[in-house]
C-alpha cells in the first residue's frame, strides 16, 4: 500500500465532549485513510462515533466538543492546524458534506436558488448570473425536473428525496475532491435510497471525487463501498476491503453484526444470531476491549488491556487480542496501524 497519494488520512483522532457529568471521550484512537476517487464506508451503530468523526474532519463539531489528539491530513495539509479562513476555503470547496436529515438540512426561509448559488459564488468566484446557470446545471444533473423553476422553490415544497438531491447538487457544485455523506439515505424509503445512492456514486465517479460514506446499514455498505471501517463504542475495530470484510470478518463484533442482519437472500429456515446485550453506557472508562461484555471469545486480558488496531492480513486491520493471537507470526505491539 502506498501512503504517498492518499487524499485524507485521519490519524489517532480523539474527540472529547463536555457534558453535565463532566468530560467524556466520544471518539478515541480513530485512524483511517481515503484514497482519491474511492468510496470508504464507516459503519457503526448509533453512538459509535462515526458521525463525530465525520464532523471533526469538517471541523464542524458543536461548541461542547473538541478534538483532543490526532491529525487529519487532507491533500498534504493538517486540517486541524489550519486557521479559520483556510478551513473555510476547504469546506464546501474541496470537501463537502451531506447530512442525514434532508428535511432540516436546508434553510426553510431561503429559496433553493439562493442556497445553491451561495457556495458557487463563494468558491468558484462566479457572478450571480453565472452561479445561477451553474446551479441550474447541477440541479439538472441530479435529475430534478424543471430546474429553473426549482430555483425559486422553498425547501418545504420538496419531498425528502428531492431535498437530498438538492443537497447533492449543492455539495458537488464546487467540484470537491471528497464528499462526506453522513447517513444520506437513512431518512428515505428504500427505492429512493437506491436512486440517491446510485446518483451519488455516478456523479462522484464522473467528477473523480472520493466518498466517505457514514452508515449503519451493512446492505448499503456492500452495495457502495470499496473499503470499510467498522466502528464500535468510539473506536475503529476493523478495517478491510469490502469483499474481504464480508467474506472474512475478523473482529467478533463484525462477525456478530453480519450474522444478525436478516437478509432477503437468506435461506428460509435460517436462524438469526444476535449479539447479546448492548453497548456499555460509559465505555470510555473501560480499561480493556470495549466489546468484552458482549464477546463470546473474551478472555481476562480483553477486560484488562485495550487491544490496538493492528494488521491482521493484507490491508486488513483488526482491534482484537484473540485475532492477533490466532494470526501467528505477528510481531508484538509495535505493528499498530499508524
Amino acid at each position: 500500500m502506498s501512503e504517498m497519494n492518499e487524499l485524507l488520512k485521519v490519524d489517532h483522532l480523539r474527540v472529547a465532549f463536555d457534558s453535565d457529568r463532566g468530560g467524556t471521550v466520544g471518539v478515541d484512537d480513530v485512524s483511517f485513510r481515503v484514497m482519491p476517487g474511492e468510496t470508504l464506508a464507516i459503519v457503526g451503530e448509533s453512538g459509535s462515533g462515526k458521525s463525530v468523526t465525520a464532523l471533526s474532519i469538517m471541523r464542524l463539531l458543536g461548541g461542547n466538543s473538541r478534538v483532543e489528539e490526532g491529525r487529519i491530513m487532507f491533500d498534504g495539509r493538517d486540517l486541524l492546524e489550519l486557521d479559520d479562513p483556510g478551513m473555510r476555503s476547504i469546506r464546501g470547496n474541496q470537501i463537502s458534506m451531506i447530512f442525514q436529515e434532508p428535511m432540516t438540512s436546508l434553510n426553510p426561509v431561503l429559496s433553493i436558488g439562493f442556497q445553491m448559488r451561495e457556495a458557487i459564488m463563494l468558491h468558484m468566484g462566479q457572478s450571480k448570473k453565472e452561479a445561477h446557470a451553474t446551479a441550474i446545471r447541477m440541479l439538472e444533473k441530479v435529475g430534478l425536473p424543471r430546474p429553473e423553476k426549482m430555483m425559486n422553490e422553498y425547501p418545504f415544497a420538496l419531498s425528502g428525496g428531492m431535498r437530498q438531491r438538492v443537497m447533492i447538487a449543492m455539495a458537488l457544485s464546487c467540484k470537491p475532491k471528497l464528499l462526506i455523506a453522513d447517513e444520506p439515505t437513512t431518512a428515505l424509503d428504500v427505492t429512493v435510497q437506491a436512486q440517491i445512492m446510485t446518483l451519488m456514486q455516478e456523479l462522484c465517479r464522473e467528477a473523480g471525487a472520493a466518498i466517505l460514506l457514514i452508515t449503519h446499514d451493512l446492505g448499503v455498505v456492500a452495495e457502495m463501498a470499496d473499503r470499510v471501517v467498522v466502528m464500535y463504542a468510539g473506536q475503529v475495530v476493523e478495517e478491510a476491503d469490502v469483499f474481504e470484510l464480508f467474506e472474512q470478518p475478523k473482529h467478533p463484533y463484525t462477525q456478530g453484526l453480519l450474522k444478525s442482519i436478516p437478509r432477503i437472500d437468506a435461506a428460509n429456515d435460517e436462524q438469526l444470531e444476535s449479539i447479546p446485550g448492548a453497548v456499555p453506557a460509559r465505555y470510555e472508562s473501560i480499561p480493556g476491549c470495549r466489546f468484552t461484555n458482549r464477546c463470546p471469545y473474551a478472555t481476562d486480558r480483553c477486560a484488562k488491556e485495550m487491544p490496538l488496531l493492528s494488521a491482521t492480513g493484507e490491508d486488513h486491520f483488526t482491534r482484537c487480542w484473540e485475532v492477533r493471537r490466532a494470526e501467528n507470526g505477528l510481531r508484538e505491539e509495535e505493528d499498530s496501524h499508524a
Binding site: M58, L60, D84, R88, S89, I90, R91, G92, N93, S96, M97, F99, E101, T104, S105, L106, N107, P108, V109, L110, E118, A119, L122, H123, Y154, F156, A157, M167, M170
Partner: protein, 317 residues
C-alpha cells in the same frame, strides 16, 4: 397568501363579536344605570319606569344587546354618564397621545431587544449574556409605577432636567422638542418593560435556531460565521418574534394606564382611570372595547406580517 389573510379575518370576526358580548355583560353587571344618573332620588317611581321604557331598559337582554350593537356599528358608543359627552369623541381625542407613547416605546424596546438578544445568544454564558439576561429580568420585575416614581424623583425633582407631567408645558406651544422632553420618562418606563420581555425571547429563539441542521449545512459550504448568522440564522429567529410583537399591544395598553396616571399623560389610560374613579361605566366599556379591537387588529396585522416573512405559510392551507 390572500386566502390565508381572509381566513385570519374570518377567525377574527367571532372573536370580535365575543368581545362585544363580554363587554356588554360586564356593563350590565356594573352597578347603577343611566336612569339613576339622569334622575334625582325624588323622581316618582312611575316616571322612572317610563324613562326606563323609553331608554329600552325593560327589554330582554338580547334586545338591549342588539340595540347597543347596532349603535356600535354606526360608531356610536353612547354617552358618558358623567360628562354627557359622546364616548367615541372623548376616546378619539385621547387616542393620539397614547398611540404616540405606545408606539415609541414599542419601537425603541424592540430595537434594543433584537440586537441584544441575538448577541446574547451568540455569546451564551459570556459576561454580556449574563448582563443582558439579568437586565431583562430587571425590566420585567420592576413595577412600572415604581420606576416611574424613581425617574421623577431623580430627573424632575432632584436634577430638574425633565418635566414630570403632561404632554407639553402649560402655556407652551406644544412644539416637537417640548413633547419629546415630556415623552422621555414615560417611554423609558415602558421601554424597560418591552425590552425586558423581548431580550430573553429573542435570545431563546436564537438559541434554538443556532442548533438547527441548516446552519451546519451553511457552515459546511464554507460560509463565514457572520454570514451564517446574519443570512441563515437571524431571519429564522425573527419569525416567531413577529407574533410576540402582537402580544405586546395589550400589555402596553395595561402599562399605559399606570404610566399615564403617574405622568399625567393625557391619553386613554388616564381617561380609563378617571372614568373608573367616577364610575363612568359607559366610557369605561367604550375604552375597553376599543382597546380590544385594536388588539385584534394588531394580531391580524402580525398574522399577515408572519405570512410575509415565512414562506412556509403560503403553502400550508
Amino acid at each position: 397568501m390572500f386566502k390565508y389573510v381572509i381566513r385570519r379575518l374570518l377567525i377574527a370576526i367571532p372573536v370580535l363579536l365575543g368581545v362585544t358580548v363580554i363587554n356588554f355583560i360586564i356593563m350590565k353587571m356594573a352597578p347603577g344605570n343611566p336612569v339613576d344618573m339622569l334622575i334625582s332620588p325624588q323622581t316618582p317611581a312611575a316616571a322612572l319606569e317610563a324613562k326606563r321604557i323609553e331608554l329600552g331598559l325593560d327589554a330582554p337582554a338580547y334586545v338591549q344587546y342588539w340595540s347597543w350593537f347596532t349603535h356600535l356599528l354606526r360608531g356610536d358608543l353612547g354617552y358618558s354618564m358623567v360628562t354627557y359627552e359622546p364616548v367615541g369623541r372623548m376616546i378619539f381625542d385621547r387616542l393620539g397621545p397614547t398611540l404616540l407613547l405606545m408606539g415609541t416605546s414599542l419601537i425603541i424596546g424592540v430595537a434594543i431587544a433584537i440586537p441584544l438578544g441575538i448577541l446574547s445568544a451568540r455569546r451564551q454564558y459570556s459576561k454580556l449574556d449574563y448582563a443582558a439576561v439579568t437586565g431583562s429580568f430587571l425590566g420585567i420585575s420592576i413595577p412600572n409605577f415604581f420606576l416611574g416614581l424613581g425617574l421623577i424623583y431623580v430627573f424632575s425633582l432632584w436634577l430638574k432636567i425633565l418635566p414630570s407631567s403632561g404632554m407639553s408645558t402649560l402655556g407652551g406651544n406644544g412644539g416637537f422638542v417640548d413633547i419629546l422632553l415630556h415623552l422621555i420618562m414615560p417611554v423609558i418606563v415602558l421601554t424597560a418593560n418591552v425590552a425586558g420581555r423581548n431580550i430573553r425571547y429573542v435570545r431563546s429563539s436564537m438559541l434554538e435556531i443556532l442548533e438547527q441542521d441548516y446552519l451546519r449545512t451553511a457552515r459546511a459550504k464554507g460560509l463565514k460565521e457572520t454570514l451564517v448568522i446574519n443570512r441563515h440564522a437571524v431571519r429564522n429567529a425573527l419569525i416567531p418574534i413577529v407574533t410576540v410583537l402582537g402580544m405586546e399591544i395589550p400589555i402596553l395598553f395595561g402599562g399605559a394606564v399606570v404610566i399615564e396616571q403617574i405622568f399625567s399623560w393625557p391619553g386613554i389610560g388616564q381617561l380609563t382611570m378617571s372614568s373608573i374613579m367616577s364610575r363612568d361605566y359607559s366610557t369605561i366599556m367604550g375604552l375597553n372595547l376599543l382597546a380590544a379591537v385594536i388588539v385584534i387588529l394588531a394580531n391580524l396585522l402580525t398574522d399577515i406580517a408572519y405570512a410575509l416573512v415565512d414562506p412556509r405559510i403560503k403553502y400550508s392551507k
